[in-house]
Amino acid sequence: MALAGRRAGPEVIVTVPADAAPNLADPPTSDLQRWRADYRRGRARRSTAIASVSTIVFLAVVLTAIVLSPGWPRVRESFFNGEVARESLPDILSGLWLNVRVLAMTAVLVVIVGLLVAALRTLRGPIYFPVRALAAAYTDFFRGMPLIILLYLVGFGLPGLQLRGVPTSPVILGTIALVLTYSAYVSEVFRAGIESVHPSQRAAARSLGLTYGQTMRRVVLPQAVRRVLPPLLNDFVALQKDVGLISVLGALDAVRQAQIHSDATFNFTPYLVAGLLFVALAIPTIRVADAISVRAARRQQAGGSL
């Protein structure tokens, strides 16, 4: 074998670059390393080729199965109608802008309320039992309550009380319902983060003379939040879609605009348009979440990758 022949060769020269800082991008200079690099490049090319062919075959099979299905012309007309898509796009985009504003408002409030509930639920000492119990009851109730039903209760029940100062706008009422539900989830994520910080950290902080509040703020929370950032962003992605549910309260958001166009034309294409816009909205968040996870992993592995 070629490899054995090379290994038998007398000279395996490793030249040291003249400048002190070794440049990793420099090509390897020994025969053996060059052979290794060639071999790896070859394997990589082969992998790429196999992946491409397999992807093309897979897509071809799926697309052929769909296009050759007897119902395809009807489905294409119903779900992929370009004319309907063009007509509905401006209204759906204006609806999506409402979704984005509600999303921004809700996300900020959820982080505040969620953190507060988590802090209350992790209070130590018997005297705080009622506070802990209330916080636990809140998370139990609002995680269990289906969002769509909560939207109805808040959206039609609250203004039904006819109290002065209760908002009547579906956007504000919808935001309240979303905040109630999502704060319950997010507070549990924060609590998991807080409880994952090793007790020795608290003990060390307290023994240095920090108060409970200082310990939480300076020692526990910074570590906790960093740890739960990926699941928090996951909840944010889920929230991006659930803001579409405020349409049941009468708000003209992207989902409702799609429904209006769909009902007017007896065609499902507007739903597809709205769905794809929501996906486009979620992708940046998903990429950011991935990047943060990678960075966190790298940071934790600082000083060695194994």
């Binding site: 007897p70 039904g160 006819q162 499902f268």
Partner: protein, 299 residues
């Protein structure tokens, strides 16, 4: 080829096999839809009255007529959410159309189909659907409509004490918050006839619209005139009809029975509706079930 490459290839083959395994179920639908081309030939406009004899009607199940509507349905269109009792204007019209086509009440089956399912791209299991469907050119591209069985106008409903209660002109409604049910032409009327400056509120059902009006979340609602009379008399204790809206674009809005696109029945069902209009049945059913009390047309 090494062993590692074989396994994914097998997986790919399995996926392919799965795809072709789907085919038999597609064949079934093909059999079901293949009725349509032959059917549409007999449904050409030149169909003779004989082609509409009960025996030659190509209904979903032979000798039976399957009529669809939503659930729940409301007065004055249906009574007690029981379309089969023949009460309410649409309940009575459906019964009359069935009779005109030659079906006895025993041969009529009702099925409940949500709004969205009426136009989904799958073979239908009903012959026609009656549920206050307004006839529009866009909708005709997706489904067939029969001849119209009711000329409808849109009306504005509010409660005493609301900002809309004293309004007597179209312009007076312009700066109010107005609601309607999604999928209705009432919503189009808010946009095109009233042309509100605030964006309209759009709800899933008329029940939600009424709740919002009671709560003071909207100043007024728009719905078809018969429903407006029902709401102001029954559902809203302090209800008040502000007035009718002039029809946008000059053409009156009409309700039609909905049929599958190119249904073999469209011509015959239309003939039945036309006959009921000609012999005065439709008019007497309107008198029986729909309040025709005066409501001023807003200008």
């Amino acid at each position: 080829m090494n062993r590692q490459a074989v396994r994914p290839l097998l997986a790919l083959l399995a996926v392919t096999a799965l795809m072709s395994a789907c085919a038999p179920s597609d064949d079934n639908t093909e059999a079901a839809t293949s009725k349509t081309p032959t059917a549409s030939e007999s449904a050409s406009p030149s169909a003779t009255p004989d082609a509409c004899a009960k025996e030659s009607l190509q209904t979903q199940s032979a000798g039976k007529l399957t009529i669809a509507t939503d659930q729940p349905v409301f007065p004055p269109w249906f009574i007690d959410d029981k379309p089969e009792n023949g009460k309410g204007y649409e309940g009575a019209v459906a019964a009359a159309v069935a009779k005109q086509l030659g079906f006895t009440p025993d041969e009529v089956t009702w099925t409940r189909v949500p709004f969205n399912n009426v136009f989904k791209p799958t073979p239908k299991n009903w012959d026609f659907d009656i549920n206050e469907f307004s006839i529009t050119a866009k909708r005709k591209q997706a489904l067939d409509f029969s001849s119209p069985y009711y000329d409808v106008s849109q009306a504005v409903v509010t409660t005493k004490g609301s900002k809309a209660a004293g309004v007597t002109t179209l312009a007076g409604l312009k700066n109010l918050t107005i609601g309607a049910q999604v999928g209705t032409t009432s919503l189009d009327a808010i946009k095109s006839v009233i042309d509100t400056s605030k964006s309209p509120r759009v709800y899933n059902s008329n029940h939600d619209v009424v709740s919002a009006l009671k709560n003071g979340q909207i100043d007024a609602l728009v719905t078809d005139l018969p429903t407006a009379f029902y709401m102001s008399a029954v559902q809203l204790p302090k209800g008040k009809i502000v007035g009718q809206l002039p029809s946008g674009g000059g053409t009156p809005e009409q309700f039609g029975l909905v049929l599958e696109k190119n249904s073999p029945l469209t011509t015959c069902v239309s003939q039945a509706v036309d006959a009921l209009r000609a012999d005065g049945t439709l008019d007497s059913l309107v008198d029986q079930w729909l309040s025709q009390g005066g409501a001023p047309v807003l200008k």
